[in-house]
Subunit: 314 residues, 2 copies
């Protein structure tokens, strides 16, 4: 039996210790701990990496602290538009949803699209129709109402700004540089890796904008021959750079290790074009990388037989 | 001054000579000729590859024979949902739109998203709102009503099938295996390449399904260091395989030529997972490849100083 491993993130950006209260920090750490444990319990019982990344992301979606699911930020018209994607590294099957509303756990909808439809990507109201046809759990607007998020929208509207933020305590300028997305990658004892990503997008966003989170190859990718990746960052740059698949290709075609490939993409190629953010990465040997080029990234990792590591700052 | 070159496609699939009338074939050939000439006139006057691919795709979008723009197939609820994306190889800037309705030329909206917004991808009604804010040309439902497409929808509904088809004359089984998408790649005399793709998706599609056409890295990619690619095929497989960027990575990281990379992806990797379709590809030296693993692909290419080549079958 091989060993299992899992890593998760709760977003990256200008997360500064000077702006964090001990109480808030402890809540974030607890949220990360709960999520990674939700994945771990599956892996240690010989469950699949797909089940584990879904469970970890569901936990983060259910936590109002993180910008995904319940804690999703508000769009310009006061709604929550949710994006998510999931991929398994053994069959290269994938599912994704963009701009869906009132779905409690978008990551589970992405998985249902992968498993119960012929499609990979569904958008907007059409995706909600599919969700209804398969008895997905919906939640009304009040479930998604988080006061801190609502305050962020009012703040953003004052300057007509679009915030990538997922935190309420910093000022507007800093809020613009926080990338609220959650995600997980895992290796199961059967040797298969998987990746999952979910987000509420940008505060005050207009025009049905989607970032990299629902894009297979950009925000999410998994392939047993190389790696599983879940990204968080300024989505436009991550799409143009096809970040997740780029790391896979650097390993497959150039022979780089997981660490070398992550360094190349996150610390060189993305920095060069001004693409701020980070990602969690795993390979089929259980190596884990958690690179980011921003001030901080909410993240946690765990390997079979070792303790949980939870980190926020550099 | 370098030489220019351009290649276009009007979809791939089970396009059989035995099912084509001489009249129909001549209409398709004329449509391809008009489109490539719309791009050529820009390139030979030292215009940009970006302008050329947009002009070629607009011409195909305006032609009811092809499944994009005016000739888009009908969704299950009798609408036309349009996807498009565009990318320039010098700056790696990109724009894309998914599931927009009543926009006359989705490729020009994708370009406007690239040039007039901070975003790369917009979806559905939000994208239409953006389009209105920048005075995009809209057309009412009657513009998009093409009898042959409407007949296809009725045919598809009989069996609850979802057709990737863009042609009206074959039977239902064959219709399922036609991938109606249009696209163009070009090299301008300044040495820059660009790619553009546009589609009306699948006949009788439900649930806001999107294929690879609006996905940067999957259906469209351009990078002066490697290649510009526009795909047409069974979109789900093209997304999972990150087809366009895979060809770029095989060139950049493994040192393959454009032809070798196209062969590897279209004739080996896609065939292995059952992914039917094709693509048009160009590199910064003006090499052109038009690979497909289906029965046929509507396609045309042209190099500075040489005549237009127009092809349909193998």
């Amino acid at each position: 039996m091989s060993k299992y491993a899992i890593a998760i993130h709760g977003g990256a950006g200008t997360i500064l210790k000077s702006l964090m209260t001990p109480e808030k920090e402890s809540q974030y750490r607890q949220g990360l701990k709960d999520a990674i444990e939700a994945g771990e319990v599956i892996l240690k019982n010989n469950g699949s990496s797909l089940d584990a990344v879904e469970a970890a992301v569901r936990s983060l979606e259910n936590n109002p602290l993180f910008n995904a699911g319940r804690g999703a930020v508000f769009t310009n018209d006061g709604k929550n538009e949710l994006d998510a994607s999931i991929m398994r590294g053994d069959t290269l099957e994938a599912g994704a949803v963009a701009g869906v509303k009132n779905v409690k756990n978008p990551i589970s909808l992405a998985r249902a699209i992968m498993e119960k439809s012929e499609h990979v990507l569904m958008c907007g109201e059409g995706a909600a129709k599919f969700a209804k046809s398969i008895e997905t759990e919906f939640a009304d607007d009040s479930y998604f109402f988080v006061q801190a998020r609502f305050d962020q929208l009012q703040e953003a509207k004052k300057t007509d700004g679009v915030f990538l933020d997922h935190s309420g305590e910093a000022n507007a300028e800093e809020n613009k540089k926080k990338f609220g997305t959650v995600g997980a990658v895992a290796l199961d004892v059967h040797g298969t890796i998987a990746a999952a990503t979910s987000t509420g997008g940008m505060t005050n966003k207009k025009f049905g904008r989607a970032g990299d989170s629902p894009i297979i190859g950009a925000g999410t990718y998994a392939n047993n021959n190389t790696c599983a990746i879940s990204c968080t960052g300024h989505g436009e740059f991550f799409i143009r750079s096809v970040v997740a698949y780029d790391i896979s290709c650097l390993m497959e075609y150039k022979g780089l290790s997981l660490k070398e490939a992550c360094d190349e993409v996150v610390h060189k190629k993305l920095v060069k074009i001004g693409g701020e953010g980070g990602l969690v990465a795993i390979d089929a040997k259980g190596n884990i990388e958690l690179p980011f080029n921003s001030e901080g990234m909410y993240r946690a990792s765990l390997k079979d037989g070792e303790g949980i590591e939870i980190m926020i700052y550099k």
